[in-house]
């Protein structure tokens, strides 16, 4: 019972964040393009996501005649479930984690891989050409970046010496505040992990799987109403998950950036850890939106080249470099 309540206390804020992330996205992109963005529903457009949700709930769910109905309905559920369940091991503050397990990172790796099944099933079950092409592209892309992500996780593991996400954050604690975080010694991995995350969630500029100007919406072209909404929820929940994981693994999780710095450290002592974590997550989420407003879409061969020919060699080199760092006890990170 208590577990169920805790899960609801995690999932409901995620759902609300997803709703307001869609509004933030439209507002941010609006202002970047010198528009105002949605401003009609509620004060300054603040009720827009709720209106969108209600509208989607009352839209007909179309079940195409050629579709494999069971798989067609199952696919969105299979995409959303792992995107939410991965949150079980995310530490929000010291001791503030639902499941404090020693295989946390392995669990994350497993669950982020499961999401691709939903996409393949959706594209296959729709029995539509656009959906099929979108699913093929998306699965090949996700699978390619999965490797770079996996290697980046291995490097984090080597640096922290533990699969437990809490221990990974605590390994970044030190006298020098934000300089002690892993983003400096593992800077290439930080970039590889975050960019791979953008590619994994099929976000711009890696959104050829959706490519509205060529294959209309890719794998979810046949979905409407709430089945579409669930795909949408999952995509945004995955964005938030990638951001919070990047914050936990490379940006010190709930640690204060000024910890141990004379003067400043004491000044920000009263701020709870979760606030720092959410600030870092919000910053990374803003990057997602910024990317979308700034970069044109990559060509498919460019995406595959970046994944296989740039990221994988870089990660392999950095495994060796990190090994030397750790065995050489390089201060201030690994002493």
């Amino acid at each position: 019972m208590q577990i169920t309540l805790k899960i609801v206390a995690i999932v409901v804020p995620i759902m609300l964040s997803v709703a307001y992330l869609t509004l933030a996205e439209r507002k941010v992109i609006g202002y970047i393009q010198v528009r105002i963005g949605p401003n009609r529903v509620g004060p300054r457009g603040l009720l827009q996501p709720i209106a969108d949700g209600i509208k989607l709930a009352f839209k007909e769910i179309i079940l195409p005649t050629n579709a494999n109905l069971f798989l067609f309905v199952l696919a969105p559920i299979l995409v959303l479930a792992p995107a939410l369940a991965a949150w079980a091991v995310v530490p929000f503050d010291e001791g503030m984690v639902l499941a404090d397990i020693d295989a946390g990172l392995l669990y994350i790796l497993a669950l982020t891989s499961v999401g691709v099944y939903g996409v393949i099933i959706a594209g296959w079950a729709s029995n539509s050409k656009y959906a099929f092409l979108g699913a093929l592209r998306s699965s090949a892309q996700v699978v390619s970046y999965e490797i770079a992500m996996g290697f980046a996780l291995v490097v984090v593991l080597m640096a922290a010496g533990s699969l437990n996400l809490q221990d990974i954050v605590l390994a970044q604690k030190g006298e020098l505040g934000f300089i002690n975080w892993f983003w400096i010694p593992l800077l290439p991995m930080f970039l590889v992990y975050f960019i791979s995350g953008v590619a994994e969630t099929n976000r711009a500029p890696f959104d050829v799987a959706e490519g509205e100007s060529e294959i209309v919406a890719g794998f979810h072209v046949e979905y409407s109403g709430m089945t579409f909404a669930v795909f949408f929820l999952a995509e945004y929940a995955n964005m938030i998950l990638i951001s919070i994981l990047t914050a936990v693994m490379f940006m010190g999780g709930w640690l204060s950036p000024f910890e141990g710095i004379p003067g400043l450290g004491a000044m920000f002592d009263w701020v709870p850890g979760i606030v720092w974590l959410l600030l870092k997550t919000a910053f990374l989420l803003f990057l997602f939106l910024w990317f979308r407003a700034t970069f044109p879409r990559y060509r498919y061969d460019q995406i595959m080249r970046l994944g296989w020919k740039v990221f994988i060699p870089v990660t392999i080199v950095w495994i060796v470099v990190t090994g030397v760092f750790v065995l050489g006890n390089i201060p201030p990170w690994f002493d």
């Binding site: 709930a57 007909e60 050629n66 995409v79 392995l106 090949a140 533990s162 020919k309």
Partner: protein, 118 residues
């Protein structure tokens, strides 16, 4: 120790429920007036020519195979990475040899053009 994994099981089940809930709500709340045009596969306004389950490029298949190899390598690296500090120089050198073999295979794939998309 194992009871720490119980919340994860519960969370997985609830994750499924959070997916099923909205879909069921959608089926209940939304109107349902199907007709044959509405239910045909979307194809830019005209009738579908042929079955959509067509032949696809073999390179997608190749990517999947390469993925399995590399993902296995990562699975092998995980347990080593956790205990790397305890293993010290010996473990590091052993892993360098393992990575070296992987890199030789990777260079071979690269030269064979398995990573090309033109």
């Amino acid at each position: 120790m194992l009871e720490n994994y119980l919340p994860i099981l519960v969370f997985l089940v609830m994750g499924l429920l959070f997916g099923i809930g909205p879909v069921v709500a959608g089926f209940i709340l939304a109107p349902n007036k199907p007709d044959s045009e509405k239910l045909s596969p979307y194809e830019c306004g005209f009738e579908a020519f042929e079955d959509s389950r067509m032949k696809f490029d073999v390179r997608y298949y190749l990517v999947a195979i390469l993925f399995i190899i590399f993902d296995l390598e990562i699975a092998f690296l995980f347990p080593w990475a956790v205990v790397m500090e305890e293993l010290g120089m010996f473990g590091f050198m052993a892993m360098l040899m393992f990575l070296g073999i992987l890199v030789i295979g990777f260079i071979y794939e690269w030269n064979k053009g398995a990573l090309e998309w033109e």
